[in-house]
């Protein structure tokens, strides 16, 4: 292990000019954060996708496409289809999940239910005027795309792990990181894909 690190330290500066900054950066991060509540410092450890998407060049569209594909495949492999085979829950509960932006911060209790925070970034039901635009509008989601199994599976997968389709998607991986329960995700599915949901009127 130690030997490997040594080699990396010796070789890296030849290729990457900023490795000194990298070491200083790691030290700075280590010294600048503390665990609080459920948010412990190990949250700063990055997985492959997070590493890849922390490079401004990647965000500017100059990332390595092969690496992106590897990340997408790995994330696709993490997605579990619902054990019961049931994709749709109750759209009314789904609306509540979409409205709430709570959960997973150091002020949240571990046992408290998380929200999806969907309206933070998406238009969903038109009657809610306070919505963000970081993500596309989901108004008439099912009405526009149809209610077929392919749409259902795609939507389920996107909610579970958006990085399966786009390595640097801005959408949280709700299933992958257990941010939402299976039932909550079924309810959000219904909000988007139940023909009776106000979203599809």
């Amino acid at each position: 292990m130690k030997k490997n690190y040594l080699i990396v330290f010796l070789i890296l500066p030849l290729f990457v000019g900023c490795s000194i900054t990298d070491q200083k950066f790691d030290k700075m991060m280590k010294n600048s954060f503390q665990s609080k509540g459920i948010a412990s410092v190990d949250r700063l450890n990055q997985d492959d996708a997070q590493k890849y998407c922390s490079d401004p060049a990647t965000l500017a569209g100059k990332g390595d496409p092969n690496r992106a594909e590897v990340i997408q495949k790995a994330n696709m492999a993490t997605i579990k289809q619902p054990a019961s085979g049931k994709y749709m829950g109750d759209w009314k509960s789904g609306e509540r999940v979409a409205q709430s932006g709570r959960g997973a911060t150091w002020t949240d209790k571990p046992e408290a239910a998380n929200g999806g925070g969907c309206y933070n970034c998406h238009q969903i039901n038109k009657s809610e005027v306070s919505y963000g635009n970081l993500g596309p509008s989901l108004w008439n989601y099912g009405k526009l795309r149809g209610y077929g199994q392919e749409v259902v599976t795609y939507t389920w997968n996107r909610i579970n792990n958006s990085k399966a389709y786009n390595a640097c998607s801005n959408m949280p991986r709700y299933g992958h990181f257990n941010l939402l329960t299976e039932k909550q995700m079924q309810d959000v599915m219904a909000l988007l894909l139940d023909p009776n949901s106000p979203v599809n009127q």
């Binding site: 409205q99 932006g101 911060t105 002020t107 929200g115 925070g117 933070n120 306070s130």
Partner: protein, 150 residues
Amino acid sequence: MDHKRRDVLKYSVIFGLMASAGLITTAQAQEWNKAAFEGKSLDDVFKVLGAGKPETSSAITMIAPDIAENGAVVPIGMNTTLKAQQIAILVDKNPSALAAQFFIPAGSEPFVTTRIKMGQTSNVYALVKADNKWNVAVKEVKVTLGGCGG
């Protein structure tokens, strides 16, 4: 920049002491219509104030936004051509309808603005007593959820 404003300010503190020394009457400081503020509904408050069924008046202009970015601070005010003696601000869907009331002596303008809390989207009323007659104006203010919501 702000220094002009600051110059205007002169502190004179220690009012508790003045009150206890009888320099102001405590009765004067403590007139507060408890029953009106404890009224739950609009009608409760109208009743306590003796406003009965106030008439809707176009002579009252409400100063309020259509949408409030946060319910903790909603600017509400009113202006009127009526000779207002008393002005009350009420919020239909707050736990207690009356937010504040104001008394306008002769020589003061029939105008006031303040900022209130609103728990949810609601109609807001400006109730005005002028020439011993009660008038009212209404406006809906939408309260939105904002930020990350966490």
